[in-house]
């Protein structure tokens, strides 16, 4: 009961932060001179990218924790942060082209940051796929190993893509929107980052609790089977419903 009150309070706070972020981005921040209003997508695009990256980092830390401590709670944290990270990464990949089309004239360019984000997205989708297709009991270990491999890959990906792009003439240059930014714009950016981060934390928390509850439920189902109540008739039905492989 108590935790749900805290959760509701946090949800309200997040809502307020998101509303403030929206206000900052659409009303307070000035319209950009050359790009016009389409530039405002930047207040969602960039904070999403930062949030996604933080989520993946949380996934990495939780996975290491799982391998060391072997507690299912760390695994719940890992899956929650990876899922939310993939969602925010998807937002980045969708809002990027939306902005690029009117500004650069093309939907997609194999720019270093774009490509890195895409590969990051691929890695974590494959991580979620692995979780989904794993056989239940071994899944957390396997997933944790994959998560660590994936995160180790991120700096290498970034470095390689940067070299790759500098090897060739760049077709378009985005003119790094972060440079020479107006203080009001920067304020709007940070306000949105804060709001998105709070939002991500909220969903991760929720997903984490859900996962924990599922784990507990599974454990309770197992316990309810054992031990035998005193004086109860032992069942002989096991023969018919034996699962293959483990015992035969």
């Amino acid at each position: 009961m108590k935790s749900s009150v805290i959760f509701a309070a946090c949800a309200l706070l997040t809502l307020a932060l998101l509303a403030n972020g929206l206000h900052q981005a659409l009303v307070v921040a000035p319209t950009e001179q050359t790009m016009g209003d389409v530039q405002r997508i930047f207040y969602y695009h960039v904070p999403s990218a930062w949030t996604a990256f933080l989520c993946f980092f949380a996934n990495f830390v939780a996975s290491i924790f799982y391998l060391v401590r072997r507690s299912l709670r760390s695994d719940s944290m890992a899956v929650a942060s990876a899922e939310v990270g993939v969602v925010f990464c998807t937002i980045v990949l969708v809002t990027g082209p939306l902005w690029a089309k009117p500004v650069w004239g093309i939907w997609w360019t194999w720019d270093a940051r774009l490509t890195t984000t895409l590969i990051l997205w691929l890695i974590y989708v494959s991580y979620l796929l692995l979780r989904r297709l794993s056989l239940s009991e071994q899944m957390p270990v396997v997933a944790a190993a994959m998560a660590i491999f994936g995160f180790l890959d991120v700096p290498i990906v970034y470095m390689s893509i940067r070299w790759w792009r500098t090897q060739h003439p760049q077709p378009v240059i985005g003119g790094a929107p972060g440079s020479g930014i107006d203080p009001v714009m920067r304020h709007a950016l940070y306000a949105n980052f804060l709001a998105f981060l709070a939002y991500a934390c909220l969903i991760i928390w929720f997903r984490y609790m859900l996962e924990n509850r599922q784990n507990r439920l599974r454990a309770m189902e197992e316990v309810s089977w054992v031990p035998v109540p005193e004086g109860a008739e032992p069942s002989f039905a096991d023969e018919a419903i034996q699962s293959p492989g483990e015992a035969s």
Binding site: I119, L129, L133, M146, F149, D153, I156, Q167
Partner: protein, 231 residues
Amino acid sequence: MSMLSLTRATLGKDLRLEWRSKDSFNSMVFFALLVVVIFSFAFEPSAEESRRIAGGLIWVAFLFAAMVALNQTWAREVRNRVLDAYRLSPAPANALFLGKALGNFIFVVLMEALITPLFVVFYNLRILGEPWLLALVLLLGTWALVVNGTFFAALSLHTRNREMMLPLILFPISIPAILAMVEATTAILTGEGATGPGTNPAVLWLKLLAGYDIVFTSAGLLLFDPILRAE
């Protein structure tokens, strides 16, 4: 019993088994051959153009072919559940991992040694850069593929349809390695940018490959034990 001699024992066992059946090696070589032939239909192998894309083509062919061997690599351990016998023994998990990775490395390098000359002939290639660098790319690139491939094949043992799973989890992680191999190979084939010492792009990519190899070999060695012990 040292780690080294145990690694030698597992490697020897793998080589012996593969030598007896040659199943995965033969399939791998034939598969690589097929890919090379099909690519020649898909991309006109006329001299100038093909040299530009040859680096990409050959590595895609090798990548797909290596997948055949990697998918089979744990099959012989799973048959008769020999892996359980290994788990019962006091031998360190890494001896098995290293032995297997080295075994796969040898098979894939042999396959590449067979297919590369064929590729050169089919695409009428002349290597404009330094050939010894190409050999280095081949070795470092293959190790990058194989060490991760062996590890991820062990991961996919725990999944429902493991043969389908392996490329799905291996390819995203391998993207920087593949990029480095392709770029280095292309730079060597075209002889581009090798104007002075220290500016050769192939060397830059080789450094990246070496870094990738070191990072993921260490990660594999650190994480293989819990994977093997996973029930």
